[in-house]
């Protein structure tokens, strides 16, 4: 099978003071182009480690990740990351933060084209009005929008999101989830998102990858979400199919992979 993104028998062992620690084992996952995948699991299960391996920020001890048939080696803008805590550079304006990525990824385009592309991506996340503000002057949700714009501006093959809405309040989070769904419907990005929010996973994903608890965490089950798109959170609240999917994820997390005591 020739998947767009293909994780083959990935495992990772970290050296620690108390000897080697196996965080991941035998991760196999095939992602199709344009698919929205969520990785869900209890904290400490290594879901962020999977994402960092795909991003190239960590090297797998075993196995490998293939993107469009090529092995992933080191980080690169073809796998743009939206970090949990936005990671905007505080000395640059919103515009300059996105511009940094655009200048790097599109050196062939002229100045006006690059400017248009920066503004286009800021418009996608509804942040063009704050282009000249600094990160310290905008709210947490706005920062995360800019982080998403920066990642989108790289036109990545895969968009990696590491608990992108984890630090936001419920209402802001809902707004951003809607924005991400809109953007994904428009651009057809392939997305891999880490989350610990069951509703978020069901609402956004085509498939939910549920991970077992570490050490030696692996994929416990994969749940296909066949809810029709576009999805509306209010309508879904009364949809039995939505609730059935939600219960399946909850059942996996709380019955089959009971929360480890120390993470409570």
């Amino acid at each position: 099978m020739n998947a767009y993104l293909d994780l083959q028998k990935i495992g990772i062992v970290f050296p620690t003071a108390r000897g080697p620690f196996r965080a991941l084992q035998d991760i196999n996952l095939q992602v199709a182009q344009g698919e929205f995948i969520s990785l869900i699991g209890h904290s400490g299960c290594g879901k962020s480690t999977v994402l960092n391996i795909v991003a190239g920020l960590l090297d797998a001890t075993e196995g490998y990740a293939l993107l469009k048939g090529k092995e992933v080696k080191g980080p690169g803008p073809d796998r743009a990351v939206v970090f949990q805590n936005h990671s905007l550079l505080p000395w640059l304006t919103v515009y300059e933060n996105v511009q940094l990525a655009v200048d790097k990824v599109m050196p062939g385009k002229n100045r006006a084209e690059r400017r248009d592309w920066v503004m286009h991506n800021l418009r996608l996340v509804h942040m063009d009005h704050a282009a000249d503000k600094r990160p310290g002057e905008i709210s947490g949700g706005m920062k995360q929008r800019v982080g998403i714009a920066r990642a989108l501006a790289m036109q990545p093959d895969v968009l990696l999101m590491d608990e992108p809405f984890g630090a936001l309040d419920a209402l802001t989070r809902a707004h951003l989830q809607d924005s991400v769904m809109e953007i994904q419907a428009e651009l057809g990005n392939t997305v891999m998102m880490i989350t610990h929010d069951v509703d978020e996973a069901v609402l956004l994903s085509d498939r939910i990858v549920m991970m077992t608890n570490g050490p030696a965490a692996t994929i416990g089950a994969i749940l296909g979400v066949d809810l029709p798109r576009p999805r509306d959170r209010l309508a879904l609240a009364h949809d039995p199919a939505y609730h059935a999917l939600r219960s399946q994820v909850l059942d996996f997390l709380y019955n089959r992979q009971a929360r480890p005591r120390e993470a409570a």
Partner: protein, 306 residues
Amino acid sequence: MHAQALPLDGPVVEAAANAAVASQPPAIAPAVPPGGEPAAHRRPPNRERNRRIALTLLLPLLTFLAVLAGWSALQKTVAPELPTPAATWTHATSVLADPFYENGPNDMGIGWQLLYSLGRVGAGFGLAALVGIPLGFLMGMSVNVQRAFSPLIQILRPVSPLAWLPIGLLVFKAVDPSAIFVIFITCIWPMILNTAAGVKAIPQDYMNVAAVLKLGKFELARRILFPATLPYVVTGMRLSLGVAWMVIVAAEMLTGGIGIGFWVWDEWNNLNVPSIILAIAIIGLVGIALDLVMGLAQSRLDYTKR
């Protein structure tokens, strides 16, 4: 003298405050019945402000008056050799009336003395920045450079820079370069250590951004390392300039020639005590001015203070 200030405290607190704001669901307007009681208990803001301004002016004035009274009392009782505040004031006005006179190289106005001292501090400070900041960057970026230099710096840092003065005189065989050398030694340790601390304090997130963007070494330094470290560098410069201004007075007392430190010592030899009191006040005021300049630079260059 190497107080590692943590300028990044600012944004952390700010970010926390932002997060707190963001995590509050939009408040529903408080249900005040129409015609309900307005905030009548609050003081008018103008009166509050005027009171605050009056106190910030009045209280220090009282302190200065108390010091003058104490000085007068001391002079009248246990230390009759001290000049009176009034005599000092008269002397000060005559010294300050002509700060830039020149009666040969050994008798120049207090303005010249200050300018010479400032020039030495500026030269030593500038040279220390040229050497210390790049070295601090290298130490922050490379564990091996850190390993190589850290023990040497740790040994030399607690040494009073004045201990280096004889070495300077021996090597340079002249007063000016020796004093500049002492200021260089004074300034270089805080600059190295703060710069290195700044590079090490760069959040891993910024480095991850750089990695995903595949920034080259030069771009990494220009776009990420340098701006992220700048607040620390400026803090190091501000600290070292403050200490340098203290050290130059002592260094010039030893080297002689010209300079505010030499002037203090010369006036002591003439038993001209009012001049010494005047010098103390002026050295203090120039010190404040230098710190204000660095503070201004800090607020312009430090993204955490904008």
